[in-house]
Amino acid sequence: MKNVRVIELKESVFASNDQEAEKVRRQLKEDRTFLMNLMSSPGSGKTTTLCRTIKDLKDSYSIGVMEADIDGDVDARTIADTGVSSIQLHTGGMCHLDAGMTRQGLDEIGASELDLVVLENVGNLVCPAEFDTGAVKNVAILSVPEGHDKPLKYPLMFQVCQAMIINKIDVLPYFDFDMKKVEEFARERNPEIQIFPVSAKTGEGFEAWESWLREQVDQWNGR
């Protein structure tokens, strides 16, 4: 005879990932390692921004970079040229990284020996926002050519981020990009968000961004 039972679960599909992410964060705290999850659309200048940030910070911190892409290793090679350790994580076709994949990456790169690890997430503003990777802080990069209405179209991304970098401000004169509006739209979703207008090409605005990042790393690592 077939015995049928119904198990009521009422649990978020993301619950197990959230637990795994908390575990990752506890380990990072113990190891005094700061993990930053960097998210953006493809082509926003994530790798260029990261290379400049690394060059400015690598004398103060030991840094590692985990590049997450669906396939390929172009970004990992570019980062490797800056002299810090970098690994490529392949998501095997998936549009985001979850906490389990992040933990494997941290083990592989030897995160416990590093002060700062940057996770360059898959270029996409939707899916990575839903999966807590276990990062200490989430940062989104938006670039001027993408338009100032991005925070309206992808609200969750701007809700989960503690900071937003607005890249490519050197091309502001050529676009109808309203800096006041983008700030207003982002703060509507997240009143606490820190906003840093920069140009990864010229270096403009990097002082403010890097001083914020240093503060976050030092605070977490207890230096």
Binding site: M1, N3, L9, V13, C127
Partner: protein, 125 residues
């Protein structure tokens, strides 16, 4: 967003659901999973029709759930206005309250992606 990216997203979350369902079945010493019911908010990032396509493909690889049905219950998207207290449909009106015009509003429900229940069975007793 392209369709390809969307279904990649759904495939990823289908694996999350399958893993959890299998765990629950094993905990409860069941041999088979007959159905899984999900609650999906209208403004969650998951699209039920893509989800069902991915489900059909993914469960075939699972010995415990080859014929498991995926049931989806939709949760209506409703915003609440802090200024006038109105609850209104989030999809046509967005952030702006249709009653008083305030944008001091927040999503009350509609972003859910929840496993509601799992129907399991075994052939013993």
């Amino acid at each position: 967003m392209t369709e390809g990216v969307t279904s990649m997203h759904e495939l990823g979350v289908v694996f999350n659901v399958i893993d959890r369902a299998r765990e629950v079945a094993i905990e409860n010493k069941a041999d088979q999973i007959d159905s899984v019911t999900l609650l999906i908010g209208q403004v969650s990032t998951v699209i039920p029709s893509y989800l069902k396509d991915c489900w059909k493909w993914a469960v075939k690889k699972e010995s415990m759930m080859k014929n498991a049905e995926l049931k989806v219950l939709t949760v209506h998207a409703i915003n609440h206005c802090d200024d006038c207290g109105e609850d209104y449909d989030a999809i046509p009106h967005g952030k702006t309250c249709p009653k008083c015009g305030s944008s001091n509003t927040w999503l009350l429900q509609g972003n859910e992606f929840i496993i509601d229940e799992i129907e399991i069975s075994d052939s013993e007793s």
